[in-house]
Amino acid sequence: MTIRGDVGAAGRQRLGVVVDGAFNTGLTVRLDGRCSTEELRIGELVVVEGASKRYFGMISDMRLRVTDARLQASPPDDAPDLVRQALAGTITYATVEVTPMLMLDLSAELEEQRGPQRVRSMPMHFAALYRASEMDFDTVFGKEGGTNFAIGSPVPMEIPLCLRLDRFVERSNGIFGQSGTGKSFLARILLSGIIKTRAAANLIFDMHSEYAFDKQTEDGHWVRGLREIFGPQILVYSLDAEAAARRNVDITLTIGLNQIEADDVMLLADELDLAPTTAATAGLLGDRYGKDWLRGLLSMSAEDVAEFCQTSGAHPEATRALQRKLREVQRRGYLKEEAPLSLIDEMVTALGKGRSIILEFGRYDSPLDYILVANIVTRRVRRLYQQKVERFEETKAEADRPLQLVITLEEAHKFLNPTVARQTIFGTIAREMRKYNVTLMVIDQRPSSIDAEVMSQLGTRITGLLTEERDIDAVFTGMSGRAFLRSALASLDTRQQVLLLGHAVPMSVVVQTRRYDEQFYRAMKTRGSESGTPGWTTSDIWNR
């Protein structure tokens, strides 16, 4: 009961009063005469003080109004100062639409300690609207510490805004935005946070070799790689033996032909221009050679192919075409006749100890290599994690509980587009691997090209500016309250501003992302804040 009285003392700026509203469409607030719409932003966090509850919401729309329509026909544009000043805020005024999202019950001490809950009521007429203060942001998003990681600051304020990384990693996530909106920097920041707070181990498929080591950005300055920041906590694998020798790479990864399964080849259908009959042919080869089907196919002479087709009923032309195309794949430097699975198994062991792994592709950065290798590695990792979880379920020993794993995937639509999402291991992970403690962090500039079912499974979505209607629709797949979030998304700056929505934040919010600079590197290197509890008490909002 103590809070109500000192609301003004909390240093909030009063904006106006509630004059209209409906639970489904939100509140209409008449702005005070002194308050200009220019000082507000779509998507800004605001607070409505009700009689016994405090509501947290977002500004979703603004509107200029006049009390007499005749003003619109003959505006007093050359009127003296006194006249203009008298008209402003009386006959002309502005309203903002506010969508309440959370509420805090102030009437009971106990309730107060439970933190903000999802909104289930609305304030009455004349409840005052305030700009959110730092204290309000702390109430909603918590203080920095533990797995509560500052991802940036709420526009337009300069205070840290936190994301619950423990919740972030427990479901698959998406980072979206047009190119140039800072996706890869944001990914670096999030990965750094996950590594520093030990929220999860990371497996990063680094198609363009940009995460591990220092890299020059488009505007010419150098940014640190994760390996440079976190040292041995990061293991760097590379497919490219030459690059590995040049760079400070830990292990060169090789893939055996025996590890390639028919499904892997099917994923390459686009890249290799494979015929639809390929699946059947590969199946017949599998019947004959088992796991060694690919080696079997590649080593066949022309006579062998004819004989195989005769006995198995495969189409000779299709078989020859498949052989020819896969020989192209065979020439890749990282492919060996036979490679032990132990290299990938060691990877999983390291991940199990909480280390993070970056797999660089070096000069093998074509989509074909990326798809093939990422799929093979992830399939094995998934299998091992599945075993781990099953063992944990048997023993129920805390020591056996597998550490959460986040797989970072760039150009995610190559694995998760509607045609292949059902075949790739990534589709499976996105849909069901939460229960095996493996989740995805997908990074893409075209969310519309990702399978809708996968999109709907993404727990937290972080999106920079998107302009294509289809992409915007895709980001909001399976989310409520889209209409006003759309306007927030459309009002983002082109750089470094993102809309956070979903599982890891109690309410959607627009954020100016942190800078990935010296100060950030230093913050990531300091120890000590990794343990400890998040800065809030147990809140109902997290148990919804």
Partner: protein
């Protein structure tokens, strides 16, 4: 200063005869009637006219080539006895001691009581609150209420020593009250602007 005597009184307004012919108080000026020991009723002048004592008798031309304007009165001293000047004031509130109550008074002021002009200090005190603007705007008078109000604002602005802040406050209040009628509002605001 005594300026008139009440010759007609009602709940909303009172009519007074000016002590001096041809010089009624300014339109919109604040006047007061002492109705008790410590009780004064305030009004805003909304109308003034000079008419013949005999209602049936119209004035006729008296000027010549040489005699006109003030000269007419010098040449015709009897006019002082057949003409009278009247002014009407809208009741807007009561002051008891230092307490101001804006709005219509409980009783109309008594007939034949004296009407006085207000000094700057009383004017400032009475006009601190602006609720009486509502009373002014709702009144029926031969002069459109917004014109009376604008004239009143000009008078008060001067009386308060060119109080810019008060004038802005008054303009905003007028805008709030006339928000549904843009034409009347603009008329009032432009008229108030003339004060400066």
């Amino acid at each position: 200063m005594r300026i008139g005597e009440i010759i007609g009184s009602s709940s909303t307004q009172f009519v007074s005869e000016s002590l001096e012919l041809r010089s009624p108080p300014a339109l919109g000026s604040l006047v007061k009637v002492r109705v008790g020991d410590d009780r004064e009723l305030f009004g805003v002048v909304c109308y003034g006219e000079t008419v013949s004592l005999d209602p049936g008798r119209r004035a006729v031309r008296r000027s010549t080539e040489e005699v006109y304007d003030e000269g007419v009165y010098r040449e015709n001293p009897q006019l002082e006895h057949v003409l009278r000047t009247e002014f009407t004031s809208l009741s807007v509130g009561v002051m008891e001691g230092r307490t101001v109550q804006q709005g219509l008074p409980a009783q109309p002021p008594p007939l034949h009581f004296a009407v006085n002009s207000c000094g700057p200090e009383e004017t400032a005190r009475f006009t601190e609150g602006l609720f009486y603007f509502r009373v002014l705007l709702a009144a029926s008078s031969p002069v459109p209420p917004e014109q009376v109000l604008a004239s009143h604002a000009r008078q008060v602005y001067r009386a308060r020593g060119d109080d810019e802040l008060w004038l802005r406050r008054a303009a905003t209040e007028v805008a709030r009250l006339l928000r549904e009628d843009y034409e009347r509002l603009i008329t009032a605001l432009y008229a108030m602007e003339q004060a400066r």
